[in-house]
Amino acid sequence: MSVKILGKSKGFYETYERRPGNNQEQTHYCPGCGHGILHKMIAEALVDFDVAENMIFISPVGCSVFAYYYFNAGNIQAAHGRAPAVATGVKRALPESIVISYQGDGDLAAIGGNEILHAANRGEAITVFFVNNAIYGMTGGQMAPTTLIGQKTTTTPYGRTLQNEGYPIKMAEIIASLESPVYVERVMLADVRSKNAARKAVRKGIKNQMEKKGFSFIEVLSTCPTGWKMTAPQSEEWIKTTLAENFPLGVYKDIADQVEPLDLSLNLAPPERVPKLIGLDQDKMDFDTASMKLAADIDQEIKIAGFGGQGVLSLGVWLSEIGMREDLEVSWIPSYGPEMRGGTANCHVKLSRNKIGSPLVTHPTVLVAMNRPSLEKFEADVVEGGAIVWDSALIDVEPQRTDVRNIPVPATRIAKEIGNSRVSNVVLLGVLAGFSDFLDPLVVQRVLPLIFKKKHLLEINLKAFEVGLGLGRELTD
């Protein structure tokens, strides 16, 4: 049950040492099987084009799973259907290599339908060989997506029906309908003439890849005498009379000559340049923490809440950024789970001299409420002796608590007076910096330029901060 590839190409290993058993001269393919012929065409082309050593062969699942016994090249064996995805990962990493993705009909057209479609649609610069023999050979002669109507297989014992399984799928036609592929042809391995045409297609598909033209797809109608329960000559005849009638041969697409070679070059940055390239070199500002006017003991749990779009989350991030430069432990987390219901966006900020455990704030020391639902929702949670800073220009009720500091700030009105209602959160930041002992105004003023890089934005935000700071300081008088 094995057949020797006559006149072995240098594209194959000298002896097939990976093949188990004593017969390491011949392939494992059945007599009359098309795989050996196609393997040979590929190997010869690679040797002729002097790229055999550059080939990376992606072995599929199915009879050709053992292609790595034979090809004298790096081999990567892929999961069922996934060869085009594996080939994508390989080719993107090694654009100079010649990546051959080789699949049978079940592998490519059934379980791997998605992978082949998208590799083709992306125009991966690989060469795909699709061996269509209308049956699952290795698993025991089951129906393939390309099995013909009426064809009997072990899973269509009464013959494939239109009603139950639908029409055989025509992959060359489907792939050719996509814009990216540069070359799509269907050939067959029957008589000498058709094999010559197949050889030509194989060479063209590989040449296209060498010239970086893009995605080439060669569908090969191939024999499976064992699966078809035929002799080798009968099989070749059946391809001609029946299979090729259902899957018409020919070039379905060829724009290889019309397209420019793809630029596949990799420009990998040397490691030492990487930090700068991913933005890790910015902000080497030194802050003199010793001169900051901060409390010795800081353990603030701040909740900021309001409508989406009021800059609630941003205010939290800025507080944290400032805290970080004050050498405090900080954490920020947006609202989560049940808290997200009911018209408020909120975030939790912790600023502490000690390591922060839970990042969640359930009982804030400071509540910044930027709309009425937020005030009503979280007022009760504030710790005794804590503070509620609220936008009195937007909220038409007063906090009811008498055991906390009540700090109304007409932030939205002030922001409008300054010229942009969106800076109300920075007004509130100023108030916090003014009355609290955990924000140093000098640090805030140095951090704001890091946040607002455009000059006009920085100016208005600095102004908003100044006004807020003034209000906050009045509270401490």
């Binding site: 990976r18 090249a73 090694l94 290599s97 930090p275 991913i278 900080v330 789970g337 839970s358």
Partner: protein
């Protein structure tokens, strides 16, 4: 180097790039999408590849291909997407290919929700895909560790030629904290097994197929020996207030942060309680747990998870019936308050 205030999800990508990762293949899913966003932003800057794949299955197989060439490659997803990657992970483990996969766990089963859970423990730590394999699993609990453990994941994954998973949750992914980013990695292990399309690699084969039962058994035995070595050399955990602890709380990831605060409160009340936080979930700090269980002062263990109780199995195996092991869990994306935790830890102790 630079200290930045970043989201955990972004820290992962910056850490990965500093670790030399130059290929990211992924499929968007909440709450892991920010990892893809950051990778899409930064990978091209360093000449790396970012590709949004057609599916999670394709993405992990692209990683398989990229890793087969010897480069450092990764993907990231969240629970339902991680389920889809299981096929590929089994192949990667079988072919002994390194790779890093991040799982930002969300609520399940099925579509579940996008809130944080820890219910992927079983599918990530116990393998999940078919066959006798294990992933290396690292469980960060801060933005800093999202960076550090991602970098470590690449190192361990290369060293042992084994997939490494960074198992986090929506909380740690979304949380912003200062991260001290380290210097980029400049030295990488040589990968003589890689397939690079050059003459010297022509005998190299990346494959997980072993037809002969004896060969496959030998391959599996080799994998098991590897897991033993990983366990001996690279088990990591953090201890908090364990010196005089009578009660040991075990929690990983975000839970460990909550427990940390709860322990501070319990200690203020005079309760002698401490925490063991596994940092590596595979290898699991079973040995340390056994040691603690053998201490006379230790009366009981309580395990807290955002799940129906998955890691608790490993604690019970390690403690092996010598001391009581209690469990408290929340599901669906609900997170216990500190008050609730303090109450539950006390309750578990009273029950004991």
């Amino acid at each position: 180097m630079a200290k930045q205030f970043v989201k955990g999800n972004e820290a992962i990508v910056k850490g990965a790039i500093l670790a030399g990762c130059r290929a990211y293949y992924g499929y968007p899913i909440t709450p892991a999408s920010e990892i893809a966003h950051a990778a899409a932003l930064y990978m091209p800057m360093v000449g790396g590849t970012f590709l949004q794949a057609e599916s999670e299955i394709a993405a992990i197989n692209m990683v398989y291909g990229a890793s087969g060439t010897g480069i450092r490659a990764m993907t990231a997803s969240s629970s339902p997407g991680f389920s889809l990657k299981q096929e590929g992970l089994s192949y990667l483990a079988g072919a002994e290919l390194p790779c890093v996969v991040v799982d930002i766990t969300r609520g399940g089963p099925g579509l579940g929700n996008i809130a944080p859970e820890q219910a992927d423990y079983h599918q990530v730590v116990k393998g999940g895909g078919h066959g006798n394999y294990k992933n290396i699993v690292l469980a960060p609990n801060s933005a800093q560790e999202m960076c550090d453990l991602t970098m470590l994941a690449f190192e361990l994954s290369d060293r042992y030629r084994n997939p490494a998973v960074v198992l986090a949750d929506g909380f740690i992914g979304q949380m912003m904290e200062p991260v001290d980013f380290p210097e980029p990695v400049t030295e990488f292990p040589e990968k003589t097994w890689a397939v690079r399309g050059v003459d010297r690699d022509r005998m190299n084969l990346v494959s997980s197929i072993e037809l002969d039962p004896d060969d496959l058994e030998r391959h599996n035995q080799k994998l098991q020996r590897k897991y033993e070595i990983i366990t001996n050399n690279d088990t990591r955990y953090e201890e908090y207030q364990l010196d005089d602890a009578e009660y040991v709380v075990v929690g990983y990831g975000i839970v460990s942060r909550l427990v940390h605060t709860a322990i501070n409160q319990l200690r203020d009340e005079g309760v002698k309680v401490g925490m063991l936080r596994p940092i590596t979930l595979m290898p699991y700090p079973s040995k340390r747990l056994s040691e603690l269980a053998a201490l006379e002062q230790v009366k009981a263990f309580s395990v807290i998870e955002l799940s129906n109780g998955q890691m608790v199995d490993d604690v019970r195996l390690a403690v092996n019936g010598t001391k009581p092991v209690e469990f408290y869990g929340r599901m669906g994306g609900n997170v216990p308050s500190i008050k609730e935790l303090v109450h539950e830890i006390k309750r578990m102790m009273r029950v004991l």
